[in-house]
């Protein structure tokens, strides 16, 4: 006889509130529906009532993990409307912070994945490296989470000792490559627990419009850094990572390999950091009437900002589309026919961010 289990909004696997209604027959999932909106903060509306500069700080709070990407994308939209050209050094610093943020986001997720598998030693290994990334971000920006690096027209802080940063990143790279990537790709427990679970085929990935590592793990070669290069990605080159299987393991492998690509991009950017100013101008920006749509690749996938200005002190419209907003609904397809016991692992494999989704 069919039965329904409400998983959430206080979630057994994740810290943020959302609800998954799971309908089963015996142990097999037949239908899943997802409810969000438990932590709505109205950031888009608030952003339309604050001035452009305080908005950068507000929008950085859309997400506690990919905070930088939101502030940066908003700044890019304002810069596009105003025709502001960001200095080369600031562009490279934005790239470095974006990739460090991806490292810490992917490592956070990898640690949680290890814990969900019951692989505690790997969890400890991953979180040790993640702390080193956070320490480096703190050394550069003064903050562990909301870095406050972006301003309209450039960045607020310099990277004063790139040589030391390269050494730190290279030390992390050894552990990531030798221990973490190897464990996720080759360990028998990891392979056995994740292989064939929560599959999303390439056709389903297109149908549901998923983005980021979820899409790339289903064989879709979409990545804004490659499709429409921004910041310094055109200069530094970028290798897109895909896997064809579409299961939880493929999502793990994509993120693991992306760690290595992020390390390469960070190292190259630090080695080639241009000299010059950090910002295009001093003082308050003047944003003329206009509109812009900007795409950025956040750790969880494509972020889209639409920003409109009527020439006033506040934006006329700020629209934020986060990757989790399009990835979470696809849980419906990933969980169909799966074992009830795999639901938490499948949900975690999407790396859902409810803070982003609800805004």
């Amino acid at each position: 006889m069919p039965y329904t289990i409400p998983v959430g909004p206080y979630h057994p696997a994740l810290e943020e509130p959302y609800k998954v209604n799971v309908r089963c027959v015996a142990e097999t999932v037949q239908q899943v529906t997802v409810d969000v909106g438990f932590s709505f903060r109205g950031i888009e509306l608030l952003a339309q009532r604050r001035e452009w500069v305080p908005d950068v700080t507000l929008i950085e709070r859309v997400c506690g993990i990919c905070s930088n990407v939101h502030a940066m994308t908003f700044c890019r939209a304002a810069e596009q409307i105003a025709g502001i050209e960001v200095p080369g050094r600031a562009v490279y610093i934005r790239t470095i912070i974006s990739e460090l943020e991806r490292l810490h986001s992917h490592l956070l997720w990898a640690g949680l994945a290890a814990e969900f598998m019951g692989f505690q030693t790997l969890f400890m290994e991953v979180y040790t490296v993640r702390e080193q990334v956070m320490d480096l971000l703190e050394t550069i920006s003064g903050n562990r989470v909301n870095y406050g690096m972006n301003r309209i027209g450039g960045v607020n802080r310099d990277i004063t000792d790139p040589k030391s940063a390269i050494e730190t990143v290279q030390a992390m790279a050894k552990v990531i490559e030798k221990d973490i990537v190897t464990a996720f790709m080759n360990n028998v427990t990891a392979k056995g627990r994740m292989g064939g679970v929560g599959r999303l085929t390439k056709e389903q990935a297109i149908e549901w419009g998923v983005v980021g590592p979820v899409a790339r793990a289903s064989g879709l070669d979409i990545d804004v850094r490659d499709d429409r290069p921004y910041l310094a990605y055109r200069d530094l080159g970028f290798k897109i990572v895909t896997q064809p299987e579409g299961d939880v393991r493929a999502r793990v492998v994509v993120r693991a390999l992306e760690l290595l690509e992020s390390i390469r991009v960070i190292t190259e950017a630090l080695r080639n950091l241009p000299s010059g100013p950090l910002r295009a101008f001093e003082g308050m920006p003047a944003i003329p009437p206009g509109e812009a749509v900007v795409f950025t690749e956040a750790p969880r996938g494509e972020v889209v900002y639409y920003v409109a200005s009527d020439g006033g002190r506040t934006p006329a419209r700020v629209k934020i589309r986060t990757p989790s907003f399009v990835n979470i609904p696809a849980l419906e397809a990933m969980t169909m026919g799966q074992q009830l016991g795999n639901i938490s692992l499948i949900q975690a494999s999407v790396d859902p961010c409810i803070s982003c989704t609800d805004r």
Partner: protein
């Protein structure tokens, strides 16, 4: 100079966008292609964009002073971003959710924020609007002061 195969393919692509019923001239901007088409047949657009291999990235709602809502459909395909800007009539527009799955949540959110009626949406229920805020609260000059709806 002779047009390249890439130029021809792009010209064909733009011609297909222009040929969508209710579509208009394509404007090339720094952030992609823009088509302002107040009377766009959005269902025809959704079908054609699917055929062209374009992915619906999102939709933006913008409140207008006349009570209508501007709707922008943002699509992505490879290097291209394509934006169709249209408007509601009676604050309603046909839903594309039956044709394009990701549109379902996006239309529900625009319904929450701007009270747009997406005709034909299979499940137009609140997505992220808190129960104490009225439907269409983005149009309210001070939504925090609105009287909560009775349960």
């Amino acid at each position: 100079m002779e047009p390249t195969a890439g130029d021809t393919a792009r010209a064909d692509f733009i011609a297909r966008l222009t040929a969508i019923p209710g579509s208009a001239q394509v404007e090339e901007r720094g952030d992609g292609l823009w088509i302002s088409a107040p009377h766009l047949d959005v269902e025809a657009m959704a079908r054609e964009m699917k055929t062209l291999g374009c992915r619906l990235a999102t939709m933006t709602g913008l409140a207008r002073d006349d009570g209508e809502t501007t709707i922008i459909y943002h699509y992505a395909r490879g290097h291209d971003v394509i934006n169709f800007k249209t408007a509601t009539s009676g604050n309603a527009v046909r839903s594309i959710a039956p044709l394009v799955r990701p549109a379902s949540w996006i239309e529900r959110e625009i319904h929450d924020f701007f009270s747009v009626d997406f005709i034909g949406h299979p499940n137009l229920i609140p997505l992220i609007r808190p129960a104490e805020l009225k439907q269409g609260f983005f149009r309210d000059p001070d939504p925090g002061s609105t009287t909560p709806e009775k349960p």
